[in-house]
C-alpha cells in the first residue's frame, strides 16, 4: 500500500505566537516550530497500516509511507521527525511564492504534489491530521478530497482497511457514524485514534539516509499567481491583540468560598 501523509510545520503553541507586521500572515520565523502535534497521529496511523501489511518471513513492510509538507525551508524539521518515527521517504514543497497561502491555495499545492507522487506509483491512501495547531480551520482535508476527487473519510477516531475498502468511525456532536469508501481515499485522523510513537535511536540514525525530495511550484505545474497571499480570496482588515482580561477577583477559600462563588453568580444573574 502506497501511503502519503501530509504534515504541517507550525509555530510551537507553547511559545508566544504572532503575526508578520506587514501582511498579517502567521509569523513562522520568529518562533520555534515543530511538526504539528496533531499530525503525529496521522504518521502513526500510516506506519501502523504499513506494518500491518508486513510480509512476515522477510519482515519487509508491504506499505510505503511518504511524508509530505508544504512550507518554508525550516519545515524540513517536520519531515525529519516523521522519518525518524519510521516514514520511508519525504517530499518538501517549498517556494517563496507559497508564503501566505490560505487553505484553498495550500490544498492546491498539496493536491498537485500528491498527483506527482502518484506518477511513480499510484497512491492508495492520503492521510492527514484533524487540524493544524496554528490555523485550526480543519478544512484542508475536505479541500484535498475535493481537489483529488477522492472519497472523504475525515475525523476518524478509528480506521480499518480490508480488501481495498476503508472504514472509519467519525464521532460527531450528536452521533457516531461509520463511513465507508473504496480505496484510494483521503482519511484525516483525530487524536483519539492511536498513541504516536517516539522515534527510536535506530529511527533517528536511519532517518538521515532516507530520501527527501524538494520541489518548487514550477515542478508541480503551478504558477506563482495561483498560490500565496495574492491568490487568497480573503483579506485581513486588522489584527488586535486581545486586551488583557481585566484582572478578576480571586478569593481564598476560608470556609465560605462556595458562598462567595454563589454570590458572584447571583450578582451576574446566572442564578
Amino acid at each position: 500500500m502506497n501511503i502519503v501523509v501530509c504534515v504541517k510545520f507550525v509555530p510551537d503553541a507553547q511559545s508566544e505566537r504572532g503575526f508578520e507586521p506587514g501582511d498579517h500572515t502567521t509569523d513562522r520565523f520568529g518562533v520555534p516550530g515543530r511538526l504539528s502535534e496533531l499530525d503525529e497521529y496521522a504518521v502513526e496511523a500510516a506506519l501502523t497500516l504499513a506494518t500491518a501489511g508486513a510480509d512476515a518471513p522477510t519482515g519487509e513492510p508491504a506499505g510505503r509511507v511518504t511524508v509530505m509538507t508544504v512550507g518554508p525551508p525550516a519545515a524540513a524539521e517536520a519531515i525529519k521527525k516523521a522519518l525518524q518515527m519510521g516514514a520511508d521517504a519525504g517530499v518538501h514543497v517549498t517556494d517563496e511564492a507559497i508564503a501566505g497561502s490560505d487553505a484553498a491555495a495550500t490544498s492546491l499545492v498539496l493536491a498537485a504534489a500528491i498527483r506527482r507522487i502518484g506518477e511513480a506509483a499510484p497512491v492508495d491512501l492520503v492521510l492527514t491530521g484533524m487540524a493544524s495547531t496554528d490555523a485550526v480551520m480543519s478544512v484542508v482535508p475536505a479541500m484535498l478530497a475535493e481537489r483529488l476527487d477522492l472519497p472523504q473519510l475525515t475525523l476518524a477516531s478509528q480506521l480499518s482497511i480490508e480488501g481495498g475498502t476503508a472504514s472509519i468511525r467519525r464521532d460527531g456532536d450528536l452521533a457516531s457514524q461509520t463511513v465507508t469508501a473504496a480505496l484510494p481515499a483521503l482519511v484525516s485522523v483525530t487524536d483519539q485514534i492511536n498513541e504516536p510513537r517516539y522515534p527510536s535511536f535506530k529511527g533517528i540514525m536511519g532517518a538521515k539516509k532516507k530520501p527527501v525530495q524538494t520541489w518548487g511550484i514550477a515542478d508541480l505545474g503551478l504558477r506563482a499567481d495561483q498560490v500565496g497571499l495574492a491568490a487568497s480570496a480573503t483579506v485581513v482588515e486588522s489584527i488586535t491583540p486581545r486586551p488583557p482580561r481585566q484582572a478578576g477577583q480571586v478569593v481564598k477559600d476560608d470556609g465560605d468560598g462556595g458562598r462567595q462563588l454563589a454570590d458572584f453568580l447571583r450578582s451576574r444573574k446566572f442564578v
Binding site: 503553541a13 505566537r17 504572532g18 503575526f19 496533531l38 484553498a104 484533524m130 487540524a131 485550526v136 480551520m137 480543519s138 478544512v139 482535508p141 475536505a142 479541500m143 475535493e146 481537489r147 477522492l150 472519497p151 472523504q152 473519510l153 464521532d171 460527531g172 456532536d173 450528536l174 452521533a175 457516531s176 457514524q177 461509520t178 463511513v179 465507508t180 469508501a181 487524536d191 480570496a233 480573503t234 483579506v235 485581513v236 482588515e237 486588522s238 489584527i239 488586535t240 491583540p241 486581545r242 481585566q246 478578576g248 477577583q249 480571586v250 481564598k252 477559600d253 465560605d256 468560598g257 462556595g258 458562598r259 462567595q260 462563588l261 454563589a262 458572584f264 451576574r268 446566572f270 442564578v271
Partner: protein
C-alpha cells in the same frame, strides 16, 4: 434585498440553536433563506419562520444524507448558482466546516471559518491563537462563505411567513463515494448540548476522577458538563465532552473551570467564553489569569457549598 443562504443544522427536524443564531446574522445582511437538507422539514418549519427565514429550500434526497459532506456541498453550489446570494452561512461544526470548504472550491469563493461575529457588511471577527488575537477579515472574491461558532450572537425572533420550495439537486457519483453505513446517536445525558449550552461547568485533573460535585453543580445551573483532556485521557469522562484544541471549542455565557490548570490547549477551546470562573487548589494555576472570578480552594468543599446555597435560594 439579496438572499443570504443559511444551511440548517438539525436532528430529524429539531433545529439546533446555532441555526437560529445564523438566521439572526443573515437578517443583518439581507433576506434569510434556510437550506434544509434531509427529512422532517415540517417539524422545523415553525422554528425557521419564527427566527426570520423568509424562504426555505428543501432538499430531501437520501443521496445527500446517506453520504458524508460532499453531496451537501454540491447541492449548495447549485443553489448558489441559482440564487446568487449575498453570502452563505453555516454552523462551525465538523460537517458545517467541511461542507463550506468544498463549497468554497466549487464556486471559487473565499471562506472564513469560526467567526465569532459577522457585521452587516460581512466583515467577520475571529478569535485566534487561543484567543490571544482578534482578527477582522472579509471575503474578497466570490460569494462569502462563513462558518460561525455557536453562541456568537443572541438569536432574535422575527416571526414572519416562510415560503418553502423543493429544490432538486443533481448529485454526481463521485460525491457519493463516502457512504455512511451506520449511525449511533450519543447517549443522552439529559443536560444541554455542550457546544450550544449557555453555561458550561468543566472538570479536570483536580476532580481525581470524581465528577459528582461537578455534575451536581452543573445541574443546579442548568449547565452542560465539560472535561479537560487530562480528565478524558484518564478515562474519567467521555471524549465527546472534551473542551479544548482537540475537543469542542465552546463560547458560553459562563464557563466554570473546576480543577483545571488551564494549559494552552484547553484555553484554545474556552477562551471566548463571556464570563470565566475558576476553582482550583493551586493559586498559581494559569486558569486564574483568565478568570473573572476565582476561588482558591478544594473543589470538594467549594462546589457542594455553592450548590446547596443556590438550591436554597431557589427554594
Amino acid at each position: 434585498m439579496s438572499e443570504v443562504l443559511v444551511l440548517v443544522d438539525h436532528v430529524d427536524g429539531a433545529v439546533r440553536k446555532a441555526t437560529t443564531e445564523l438566521l439572526t446574522i443573515a437578517a443583518r445582511v439581507g433576506e434569510p433563506s434556510a437550506v434544509y437538507i434531509g427529512t422532517g422539514f415540517q417539524d422545523a418549519a415553525a422554528t425557521l419562520a419564527r427566527f426570520g427565514a423568509v424562504k426555505a429550500y428543501r432538499i430531501e434526497s437520501p443521496d445527500l444524507t446517506a453520504h458524508l459532506v460532499a453531496p451537501s456541498a454540491e447541492a449548495l453550489a447549485q443553489l448558489v448558482e441559482r440564487t446568487q446570494p449575498a453570502a452563505v452561512l453555516l454552523a462551525s461544526t465538523a460537517d458545517g466546516k467541511e461542507i463550506a470548504a468544498r463549497l468554497a472550491l466549487k464556486i471559487d469563493s473565499g471562506l472564513i471559518t469560526d467567526a465569532v461575529d459577522v457585521d452587516a457588511d460581512l466583515v467577520t471577527t475571529q478569535s485566534v491563537f487561543a484567543g490571544a488575537y482578534s482578527v477582522r477579515a472579509r471575503v474578497s472574491r466570490g460569494t462569502p462563505i462563513i462558518t460561525v461558532k455557536a453562541n456568537s450572537v443572541t438569536a432574535q425572533e422575527r416571526p414572519g411567513e416562510c415560503v418553502d420550495e423543493q429544490f432538486t439537486a443533481v448529485i454526481s457519483p463521485g460525491a457519493m463515494s463516502a457512504r455512511i453505513t451506520g449511525t449511533r446517536p450519543r447517549q443522552k445525558s439529559g443536560r444541554p448540548d455542550l457546544s450550544e449550552a449557555a453555561i458550561v461547568v468543566a472538570g479536570g485533573r483536580g476532580t481525581n476522577g470524581d465528577f459528582g460535585p461537578v455534575e451536581a453543580f452543573a445541574d443546579t445551573l442548568g449547565a452542560a458538563v465539560g472535561a479537560s483532556r487530562a480528565a478524558v485521557d484518564a478515562g474519567w469522562y467521555p471524549h465527546a465532552n472534551q473542551v479544548g484544541q482537540t475537543g469542542k471549542s465552546v463560547s458560553p455565557q459562563l464557563y466554570v473551570a473546576v480543577g483545571i490548570s488551564g494549559a494552552i490547549q484547553h484555553r484554545a477551546g474556552m477562551q471566548t467564553s463571556k464570563t470565566i470562573v475558576a476553582v482550583n487548589k493551586d493559586a498559581d494555576a494559569p486558569i486564574f489569569e483568565l478568570a473573572d472570578f476565582g476561588v482558591v480552594g478544594d473543589l470538594f468543599t467549594v462546589l457542594p457549598q455553592a450548590t446547596t446555597l443556590i438550591e436554597q435560594a431557589r427554594g
